[in-house]
């Protein structure tokens, strides 16, 4: 065994590390991956016994026995002989970088002409060219020591998207990073985004299945760092196949006066767990976190957010909204930490849930942990139903029950979707969201 010291127990999820070994990796990466593998092997997948996983059980991922997708899938994609098609958002003209089963698919990507100094490449390419910013950036934010899913991703770190914006670079076209999954396997997509001082971009990170919508497991890690005054609009869309499993860690680091606007949409996988961690590490930085999730059928969706105010005069605003029907289940855990020196912090957090059926279930836990006194912090959480008066009004205007419910449900999340700023994306998301709501409405009627 190359990945781990001989004689240790090997977690089945790591079993495939042998298949490619760590051959071809630069020394530092081989070391990093080995440490990550050892760390995951020691801790294994999180279990509901851990407080952060109290409501989410990953044992389905284990029992499914996913094997690592490996390189051959990527080779198929590179060959271009694959049936995979990439259908971009209509009307959006992005710089796109597409990955199939975790490996860069040049045939499907459109890297276009990026502004001077901007790098939009696959991690594998960047590594082969020895680009130092990739080496410095990888694993710099997403530490794996106490997070076994990050460790698992890092152990398999081979490819993914790497984006670098030099000082004052403004990328007008949105950058679209798409991870497609074409077959039943485990993938560990990775994304690295570094924006230097005064840089600006819109980044769309989305997860979607190939045409035959198989069951698969995506365990993603994204690291985003924003230099002073940098601005990023980050739209993350989890619209996996309905049989798929999705776990993700998004790690954001903000320098002085930077502005991060994150949109986190999760509507697809049968089980999705997304950890979004934002560190406001220098004074004056500002973070907005917006989320929309839905859970119908037997879907389970879990959003954990952690906003870490370490320095003074930072602002964070967070709104997550969820629509739940049938036997859908949602978990929200929002933690805001204001450290002793983070005076003049302004933090607001909201979580609102709409329950459309008797079997739906929601567990929400907004947490505030505050160690500074000159702060303004508030949070709120609600769980409720559609307003019967509003439903009655719409019906009196001739709408059917299902339609009326769909209209109101859509209105419930529209304030978040409307803020995405990319009309074409907002529309397609609303489309992705609505069929389930409407079907649920019919069932109720």
């Amino acid at each position: 065994m190359t990945a781990l010291a001989a004689g240790k127990k090997i977690d089945p999820l790591l079993a495939d590390l042998d298949r490619d070994g760590l051959a071809g990796d630069p020394d530092w990466l081989a070391k990093l991956r080995r440490r990550a593998a050892a760390s995951f092997d020691a801790h294994g997948l999180p279990t509901p016994k851990q407080e952060a996983w109290k409501y989410t059980d990953l044992s389905a991922i284990r029992s499914r026995g996913y094997r690592w997708g490996g390189i051959d899938a990527g080779e198929r994609a590179r060959d271009g002989g694959d049936s995979i098609e990439h259908t971009p958002f209509v009307g959006l003209d992005p710089i796109s970088i597409v990955f199939v089963d975790g490996v860069f698919a040049e045939r499907l990507s459109d890297l276009g002409v990026a502004p001077r100094g901007v790098r939009i490449v696959s991690i594998a390419d960047a590594l082969s060219r020895g680009e130092s910013w990739v080496r410095e950036g990888l694993s710099a934010l997403a530490h794996f020591e106490d997070r076994s899913l990050v460790a698992l991703n890092t152990a398999y770190l081979r490819d993914g998207a790497a984006i670098y914006l030099p000082e004052r670079a403004v990328v007008e076209r949105p950058i679209h990073v798409r991870f497609l999954s074409s077959r039943e396997a485990a993938h560990h997509p990775r994304m690295l985004f570094c924006a230097m001082k005064d840089a600006e971009a819109t980044l769309i990170e989305d997860y979607a299945p190939g045409a035959d919508r198989p069951a698969y497991y995506n365990n993603a890690v994204s690291e985003l760092s924003l230099g002073a005054n940098a601005r990023l609009r980050h739209i993350r869309i989890e619209n996996e196949a309905s049989a798929a499993h999705h776990t993700a860690t998004v790690q954001v680091l903000q320098r002085a006066h930077s502005r991060y606007q994150g949109f986190n949409i999760s509507v697809g996988a049968s089980l999705a767990r997304i950890d979004t961690n934002v560190a406001l590490n220098e004074a004056g930085s500002e973070a907005e976190l917006w989320g929309v999730y839905s859970a119908f059928g037997n879907r389970h969706v879990d959003n954990h957010t952690f906003v870490d105010h370490t320095e003074p005069s930072c602002t964070s605003r967070e709104t997550y909204k969820g629509i739940l029907g049938e036997r859908g289940r949602a978990v929200f855990n929002g933690r805001v930490l204001v450290r002793p020196d983070a005076q003049k912090t302004n933090a607001v957090q909201r979580n609102q849930n709409l329950l459309l059926s008797t079997d739906a279930r929601v567990d929400t836990k907004p947490e505030l942990e505050i160690y500074a006194d000159d702060v303004k912090c508030a949070h709120g959480a609600t769980v409720g139903q559609l307003d019967p008066a509003a439903l009655f009004y719409l019906r009196s205007r001739g709408l059917g029950v299902a339609e009326a419910r769909a209209v109101l449900s859509r209105a419930f999340v529209s304030d978040v979707l409307d803020r995405i700023g990319q009309e074409t994306i907002a529309k397609s998301l609303a489309l992705a969201l609505m069929p389930a709501v409407e079907a649920n409405g019919k069932e109720q009627a």
């Binding site: 006194d373 508030a378 949070h379």
Partner: protein, 488 residues
Amino acid sequence: METPREPVAVDAALNEIVEQEYRFGFVSDIEADSAPPGLSEEIVRFISAKKEEPEWLLEWRLAAYRRWIRMVEPKWAHVHYPPIDFQEISYYSAPKSKEDAPKSLDEVDPELLETFEKLGIPLSERAALAGVAVDAVFDSVSVATTFKDKLSDLGIVFCSFSEAVRNHPDLVRKYLGTVVPPGDNFYSTLNSAVFSDGSFAYIPEGVQCPMELSTYFRINAAKTGQFERTLLVADKGARVSYLEGCTAPMRDENQLHAAVVELIALEDADIKYSTVQNWYPGDKEGKGGIYNFVTKRGACRGARSKISWTQVETGSAITWKYPGCLLIGDESVGEFYSVAMTNNKQQADTGTKMIHIGKNTRSTILSKGISAGEGQNAYRGLVRIQKGAEGARNYSQCDSLLLGDRCGAHTFPYLEVRNESSTVEHEASTSKIGEDQLFYCQSRGLSMEDAVSMIVNGFCKEVLRELPMEFAVEAQKLLGVSLEGAVG
């Protein structure tokens, strides 16, 4: 806008108050009849024998003890303290005079009475003037119960726990451990094994208790844990308001207090349980003070029953308690009103659990946390709407006020909803006293001190007004003493 301030003068005035010593720090020198430190089956048997308990209760205690030794101390709370050596604690301490139990107030050990006097609870006076029946718990054994006759005319049983075991074994046996089962959690299990005494009250069907029932707890002898057990049963249509006040003298070692309170409300019954807790919080360096690890839970068993918890927590080095309500009966109501104040190195992790089981059950949570000095104050609450709890409604509000730049305020609410027809709302905010508010008050001629005191009182008012009159006054004074010193 920069507010004009006079930091020097203010600081001087503040320091004076900050340096106020704990007013109730004295030790009554009464010969105690204690068990040697340590916990074993023998000690459990010793306690049970001392109290001349029936066999079933001894068995109950032993079963709890056997469970406890296999349990692990919980670590999830947002508090930090050195590990407790449970073999260092003496589990039984009773004033010697217990042998010839007092028949009336006159027979009570005068020094005991004096102790209460120093605490500002003149037993006789209070009994006469305020019409309060006080079941005073001095360390572990109840020494005097007043107004008993008046209550017994109405069929109300209000006595010490051990008395209830002797005189009303059926009632005790029927309800003991039905709300907080022996194996519920680490500290309640410990309590079940070694509980010394406490209060018992039973309000028969349709009776409205004519006066506030009240108990004063006081931890006195050094190195003794206090493990009281309170059981309160309100039969159909009964109504009762129960007050609990706590103080402890100054001790250098941390003392453990692990009480269990069980409330049972049958159909249409109404229980109001108010606590003012002012145990010794430790000194400015965090030395000494009480560890207050309490399990309090009420069950609204019958339809339309109501249980209301009100607590003002200003004392203890560590407070760790979550008075909860099991809303089993349809249309039952649970309420939780709390003011928790931490100063210096005090830590509080407190909140409530509202479990909605019956249809159309309602609960309200109102929690006000005040942190000063290096105090850490956490609200931790659970609202669970079970599947069958149709039309359940919850509203929670948790506000924190920060006074000082080294304190902390934390909120950990758990909302678990399994029913679509229910509505759950939670709101929380954290801030310090606004400079503009202070400026306004000062511009109207209030001193800095008075302004802060007024704003803080306003902050807590929604909770304080839930307290019975006498308690509200005391609570306000307590807050004043603990708080004003902390403003900087």
